[in-house]
């Protein structure tokens, strides 16, 4: 299985590589369109600020490459947010894969949300073997509201999308690579998607 992590200069991607290594898979970091297109699975990570991350994607042409992928793609954290229609962070237009707009938590709660929260209403084989209300690790200030593409829900200030799916595109707001055994199971499920 050829596993590629899209490398566009967006923060800590070693952790994702190491997480797959612990599962027994070697993931390749790549910014090469050809290599990304040829992969069996593509991970689209992202940490940091949305508009600068999106600018890097556009500058390298990887925005179009990702939009056109046919194999299973997993966006993580900011990666998931950039796969949405837009994000309020830096008034950024996203890749438009998920038909929802990412917005900021209000100051009624502490922002960023940092720590372990629960996922429920699990609706995808991505969550095979994961129980309702299992814990996952999150760090984020912006969130995708509940929509028709929601496949997992977390609650902070209100219920919101902890994961999204459209066709071959999956996105998770949490960090599976840092979510202990539950996260490892989700990464394994992603590799085993039919």
């Amino acid at each position: 299985m050829k596993l590629v992590i899209v490398n566009y200069g967006a923060g800590n991607i070693q952790s994702i590589k190491f997480a797959f290594k612990r599962l027994g898979y070697d993931a390749v970091l790549s910014d090469d369109a050809k290599e990304i297109r040829a992969a069996d699975r593509v991970i689209f990570p992202g940490v940091g600020e949305a508009s600068s991350a999106m600018n890097k994607l556009r500058a390298s042409g990887l925005d179009k490459v990702i939009q056109e992928l046919k194999q299973p793609v997993l966006g993580i954290c900011l990666g998931m947010q950039l796969m949405c229609h837009s994000t309020e962070e830096g008034n950024t237009s996203g890749l438009g894969i998920f038909d929802t707009d990412v917005v900021r938590f209000t100051n009624r709660v502490k922002v960023p949300q940092i720590g372990w929260n629960q996922i429920s209403n699990l609706k995808s084989s991505l969550f095979k073997g994961v129980a309702e209300k299992d814990h996952i690790y999150l760090v984020h200030s912006y969130y995708a509201p509940i929509c028709s593409e929601t496949i997992a829900v977390s609650e902070y200030e209100m219920p919101y999308s902890s994961a999204l799916q459209k066709d071959n595109f999956y996105g998770v707001q949490f960090h599976p690579e840092k979510s202990s055994k539950v996260g490892e199971r989700i990464l394994k499920n992603f590799l085993e998607l039919a």
């Binding site: 997480a19 290594k21 372990w116 629960q118 200030s141």
Partner: protein, 251 residues
């Protein structure tokens, strides 16, 4: 529901784990990577590695350690100690650290917080604040709590948040090493005034202290070292006890 976090802190010197009692009198307590894995398996929610080495090779030793931890450990971890530049942070994050914590360097050059946040994002920038009471006023201290400043704790915490830090790690020097409980009154004020998570540090001695710091201190997370290092309590037992007391935890 977002849960309260339990965070063991590993003090690191020259790649080995130590624990300071009031930041002096160091004792060796093992290999950091092994200890980190053990804590992760026992249910720790996060780990903090605080580097207190003073050698010239410290940056490289720390980067190597961070990489070894990131390879093995499946929970998030923060690295702090002597971090003073964008370059320092870049190396640590690149090697697999999830967050970095800055302390003295932020006090000396507050603009560093803004620069780090702009480059890496709020989510990975923790500002650690060491403070103790002098004539009834909480004053920020530097260099592991040894050097007093004129800076008032609550004003500094406000500035830290405004400059974009994602979290505050507050250590009361008056409580650290005493095992008499956390500085809950002060923590509660920090947690109420600020809108970013507050990690309580300094004073953990028994399970009730953790219950108190989450209930009375309104802390979002609690950090401790020696009670875990010397097996005075197991993290699993602590989290069960917290749950029994109505505090949301990950079990």
């Amino acid at each position: 529901m977002l849960t309260k976090r339990i965070i063991p802190c590993l003090d690191i010197k020259d790649g080995r784990t130590v624990k300071g009692i009031n930041f002096v009198d160091l004792r060796d307590a093992g290999d950091p990577v092994e200890l980190a894995q053990m804590y992760a398996n026992e249910g720790a929610d996060e780990l903090v590695f605080l580097d207190i080495s003073a050698t010239e090779e410290r940056r490289k030793t720390l980067a190597d350690l961070v990489k070894r931890v990131a390879e093995k450990v499946n929970i998030p971890f923060t690295v702090g100690g002597g971090i003073s530049s964008i370059k320092d942070v870049d190396v640590l994050l690149h090697n697999g650290a999830d967050k970095v914590s800055i302390n003295s360097s932020a006090v000396k050059n507050p603009e560093l917080i803004n620069e780090l946040v702009a480059k890496f994002g709020s989510q990975c920038i923790v500002v650690a604040i060491d403070a103790k009471q002098i004539n009834g006023e909480w004053k920020v201290h530097l260099v592991g709590g040894k050097v007093p400043t004129e800076i008032e704790l609550f004003e500094w915490a406000k500035e830290v948040e405004e400059r974009g830090a994602g979290e505050i790690l507050f250590t009361s020097m008056d409580h650290d090493g005493t095992k008499n409980g956390f500085a809950n009154e002060t923590l509660a004020r920090l947690s109420t005034e600020r809108n970013i998570p507050i990690i309580a540090s300094g004073g953990a001695g028994n399970m009730q202290h953790f219950i108190d710091t989450f209930k009375d201190g309104k802390a979002d997370a609690a950090l401790a070292a020696s009670v875990f290092h010397f097996k005075e309590m197991e993290i699993k037992d602590l989290k069960k006890k917290l749950q029994d007391n109505g505090i949301p935890v990950r079990l």
